[in-house]
């Protein structure tokens, strides 16, 4: 039997409850509350993922950058194709470097870029951005995209995901794992407040320095974006 006190613990700010979910406040990772040790996992097809790997088909020995931290599934998949995988954990780095502070601080932006996108002369043949960009404020986001443009080889692709619900105060915080070339395993680890919500027009403007942008709108209100350098 669930008591009223426990019911109160299960409710997130805003009223909706998601039993078993962790609730994050950006910049305050220590405030995350795991009520139960359960995560919501779903398998979903991804046209964006399919397109991304279609562009890589027939090639081996490429360098792929994954910005959402290392996972067994992504490592297995990318390396089984004969590619080298580079792993960064942008969201963890955001929490560590900015820790809830203003993301427009130039010094911290520089620190973030030096920590995460400093590869010397290395260039990448593809970048799995996942949904990390929506947790970046405009100044940091612009600087990050500028840097990504310099480290991605021309004619290469970036795959990014953006939540499309413009009214959402909090969005599902997913871990993206590749099941196969057409499917993702989405593990929801609570919710997180996006810094910005993008529509198609704002995404076109965001990626204007790149050669092309292709959108796929899916269920779960996730917008998949393939960007060509």
């Amino acid at each position: 039997m669930i008591t009223e006190r426990l019911r109160g613990m299960l409710r997130r700010p805003g009223g909706a409850s998601l039993p078993g979910a962790a609730v994050f406040t950006p910049g305050h990772p220590s405030s995350a509350t795991k009520l139960f040790d359960r995560e919501v996992v779903s398998t979903r097809p991804s046209r964006g993922l399919e397109q991304f790997f279609a562009y890589l088909r027939g090639q081996a020995g490429l360098s792929i950058l994954d910005l959402a931290g290392a996972s067994q599934e992504n490592i297995n998949f990318i390396t089984s194709l004969g590619h080298r995988l580079y792993s960064e954990d942008f969201v963890r780095s955001l929490d560590d470097i900015f820790a809830g502070e203003d993301q427009s601080n130039a010094g911290r932006i520089d620190q973030f870029l030096r920590h995460n996108l400093n590869f010397g002369n290395e260039e990448f043949d593809g970048v799995l951005v996942w949904d990390v960009l929506q947790y970046m404020a405009p100044a940091l986001l612009t600087a990050t995209l500028d840097r990504l443009r310099t480290i991605v080889r021309p004619q290469s692709y970036l795959l990014a995901y953006f939540h499309s619900d413009e009214k959402a105060q909090q969005v599902p915080f997913y871990s993206f794992r590749i099941k196969d070339q057409q499917h993702l395993l989405l593990t929801q680890r609570g919710t997180r407040k996006p810094t910005q919500i993008f529509n198609n027009r704002s995404l076109e403007k965001l990626f204007q320095p790149f050669e092309s942008v292709k959108f796929f709108l899916t269920r779960e209100q996730l917008r998949e974006v393939i960007v060509r350098r």
Binding site: G61, G82, E88, D180, Q182
Partner: protein, 155 residues
């Protein structure tokens, strides 16, 4: 019921191998011809060609590492070359480039760097004829799940 005092078994992690305890700090090169468990601080290089290296939960290693098998429970900053297998456990942290035949990374582990999977060459049996050069194969087709056929790259 036994009245003998209970003796806790020797920790599995240090049995039958050399170990560097958590109070020990080493600055230099370590070579070992047996399995090694490091739970202290090491700065330099660690090399165990045909053996297993375990970095314990208190281990802080700031060095390049080379071994047959590497298990990380603590903190490593440096490149890791594990000819057979590398395991990065749940609360471990590795910053550096990896070269290995197999990798296992648990959820919760932190890794920053590159991963190169390098499979060992198959051993040639003595007296066997030299292998023919491989014929060129047709382009691999995707299977029903859309998975591409794996290709190996040696660097």
């Amino acid at each position: 019921m036994s009245t003998m005092p209970f003796k806790a078994p020797e920790p599995e992690t240090t049995r039958g191998q050399a170990s560097i305890g958590k109070a020990v700090k080493i600055n230099g090169q370590i070579y070992s011809k047996e399995d090694l468990y490091v739970d202290g601080d090491v700065e330099g290089t660690i090399e165990l060609q045909e053996h297993r290296l375990t970095i314990g939960p208190n281990g802080k290693v700031h060095s390049s590492v080379k071994a047959r098998e590497v298990v990380i429970l603590g903190n490593v900053q440096g490149n890791v070359d594990a000819s057979d297998k590398l395991e990065i456990r749940k609360d471990a942290r590795l910053v550096g480039d990896i070269k290995t035949a197999r990798i296992i990374i648990e959820d919760g582990a932190y890794f920053k760097g590159s991963i190169d999977i390098v499979k060992p060459e198959p051993a040639k049996s003595p007296g066997s004829p030299a292998p023919r050069p491989p014929q060129s194969a047709p382009a691999p087709a995707a299977n029903a799940q859309g998975n591409a056929v794996a290709a190996e790259v040696k660097r």
